[in-house]
Symmetry: C2
Subunit: 382 residues, 2 copies
């Protein structure tokens, strides 16, 4: 039995060098019966325009403004931002006890944006043609570039029609992400993502940067550059590939159909992508989201996030970063059966049953050109 086949059969841990953490894989366990909660598949038959949607062109938002008649993407400041530009400062109080050790806090300022991906209420990234995904990538890029320090070679004044109001302060990190589907707590099917930019680097990117920095110091090469090259030669975990980007189920994936999209060139942030690479990224996003929908023939829920260099701070941090996207989908074995991260996984260690190689094989064999969505709840009254 080859080593690959041994890992198809035995319980084992896999190491995630990007986080410096382990996950438990139990491949023999996939035969377990399912008796738990079921998800409601997402509704279909959405209109192109919904007069009650706060993201559709021309509609009034809850707090204030009216959306313009935007033709491609549209950016606005989140009406319910998790971080704010102006707030009182916080200074940890002096204390005679151990509060300064055990009750530490630090103020966080920042700005939150919403990006509409398309004026059409009823499209998802899987439906939007590749040439209309490029403007979304260009909007992400413009947002990032306009928040860089003015001294950066990649700094750019955003085009007026984007409606981006650049903050007066220099923030440190920009997290671009998308929540799709009710299973991911997303309240509106209108295709959109979010961008939160903050003082300080958040926990996850901070952990990844630390590990990428140490890898570079030790091995003189980029962790994700080495990794994407290795996976392309191994083939087993590749989901989609073109000259510029690879989509794969990472060796250390936690979620059943988790994928990463990694730039094949060692690029630190979005503004460094060439026009051709932007198209390459749009193509891979289109293929991955179509494959996801086809997997269970449903409108596939996920959280997606882009990791790239911090806006500001240590230049060694920036150089250690390698542009990549994470897709984290909750579904496990059908449009209605999800994986739960509970119990052992919360208290001890993340755990998965099917191996990343099995997941990659299933995704690889699905169409990335067309979308099939049989398992939708048809809901004409919605």
């Amino acid at each position: 039995m080859s080593d690959r086949e041994v890992l198809d059969d035995i319980s084992h841990r896999r190491y995630n060098p990007l986080r410096g953490s382990w996950i438990l894989v139990s491949p023999h366990r996939t035969k377990r019966p399912w008796q738990g909660q079921k998800e409601t598949p997402s509704k279909t038959s959405l209109p192109v325009f919904d007069s009650s949607c706060y993201l559709c062109p021309g509609n009034l938002r809850a707090v204030g403004d009216t959306n313009p008649a935007y033709p491609e993407t549209f950016v606005f400041v989140n009406d319910y931002s998790a971080v704010k530009e102006d707030q009182q400062d916080y200074v940890q109080p002096e204390s005679g006890d151990k509060s300064s050790l055990l009750l530490q806090a630090a103020g966080v300022r920042g700005k939150c944006y919403v990006i509409c991906f398309s004026p059409s209420h009823n499209l998802t990234l899987a439906d939007i043609p590749t040439e209309m995904i490029v403007p979304i990538i260009k909007t992400w890029t413009a947002l990032y570039a306009s928040h860089l320090p003015k001294s950066s070679p990649y700094y750019q004044v955003p085009a007026a029609e984007l409606g981006i109001t650049v903050p007066g302060d220099q923030y440190t990190y920009m997290q671009i992400f998308e929540n799709k589907g009710a299973a991911m707590g997303c309240s509106n099917p209108h295709p959109h993502g979010q961008v939160w930019t903050t003082t300080g680097i958040p926990e996850e990117p901070s952990l990844e940067i630390q590990n990428m920095k140490e890898y570079k110091r030790k091995h003189g090469a980029g962790l994700l550059k080495d990794y994407v090259d290795l996976e392309i030669t191994k083939e087993k975990r590749i989901v989609a590939l073109n000259d510029h980007f690879a989509a794969l189920c990472p060796w250390w994936a936690i979620w059943p159909f988790e994928t990463m999209i990694i730039c094949r060139r060692e690029v630190h942030s979005l503004p460094e992508l060439t026009e051709e690479e932007q198209i390459g990224l749009a193509k891979v996003i289109s293929i991955v989201t179509k494959k996801y929908d086809n997997l269970f023939e449903t409108n596939f829920p996920y959280s997606m996030g882009i990791h790239q260099a911090p806006l500001d701070g240590d230049p060694e941090d920036r150089k250690a970063c390698h542009l990549h996207l994470h897709f984290v989908p909750p579904l496990l074995r059908s449009a209605t059966v999800r994986k739960f991260l509970v119990g052992y996984e919360l208290m001890a260690e993340p755990q998965r049953d099917i191996t990343p190689e099995q997941a990659a094989e299933r995704l690889r064999n699905l169409s990335g050109d067309e979308v099939y969505r049989g398992n939708l709840v048809c809901c004409p009254e919605a």
Copy 2:
């Protein structure tokens, strides 16, 4: 404005010294409207005995055995264990490429148990009288003690009626946990928990032990001993308290109503508890689970886990450990509205809206003596 009040108003990060990680708190954001998915509240009107339940006394389980007519608790080996006692060994293959660096794996062996908390199908920890929670604590203790190395002063042969078959191998860590409710992926309402014991220390306890060990080296005292003492003087985050245990919303809580139960004495593992301390723990578990049910007048879902010393390994690890329980409940603002850990939280940093102090105040003010469950779906045909 005092510092405490500042943190009620501004976005800030709080440090978790137990994990060495940060979380984002956005207290101003609690006014956000909710349009997302709703949970189905759990069903009521369960029978005391369900002939189709594989955990009820006298019933046949899917794979093989018949449950005995147990009077208190009952332990059996999980029919669908995530780890097994016997499996092929795995040796990382030699390779000329970077596989040994980027595709690391290690075999994991172990044993998984299920513990029925009560013969009654329709009770939860909130319903079980305190004096019947004590036998559950004694069963957890017996399981742990019987898996210690025979040289340990706390080693115990398990009582025959528990039905515990001790593995031939010495495992390193034992994770005791409970998943309660469909929202936590739990398929069976019969009150029960699980125990997974493995070679190697899993990710979460390993991280905590590392931080507790470093704290002890630096400050000459136990991290959780210092923390529980400090919280008792601060009062604000305490939910329930007796001479032996404190229940509190930790300073660094991620989930809206997350709590920890911490032993007030620096005890490393369950077998070190005195009879009186066992009763103290049973009382606090009873109060916390009753308060949880009363919060939204529902059968409150959660994951619970016990962290204590490893079974085997470095004695300094054992000495750094301090017995505690984590309760992680998903509900946010009613029996049907849950918190999702998605988007920014998966990609960047966990985030919460209501502060741990606000959560503790709400839990403190609820009854811990009686249970009210108005918001149940009455489901006579179930």
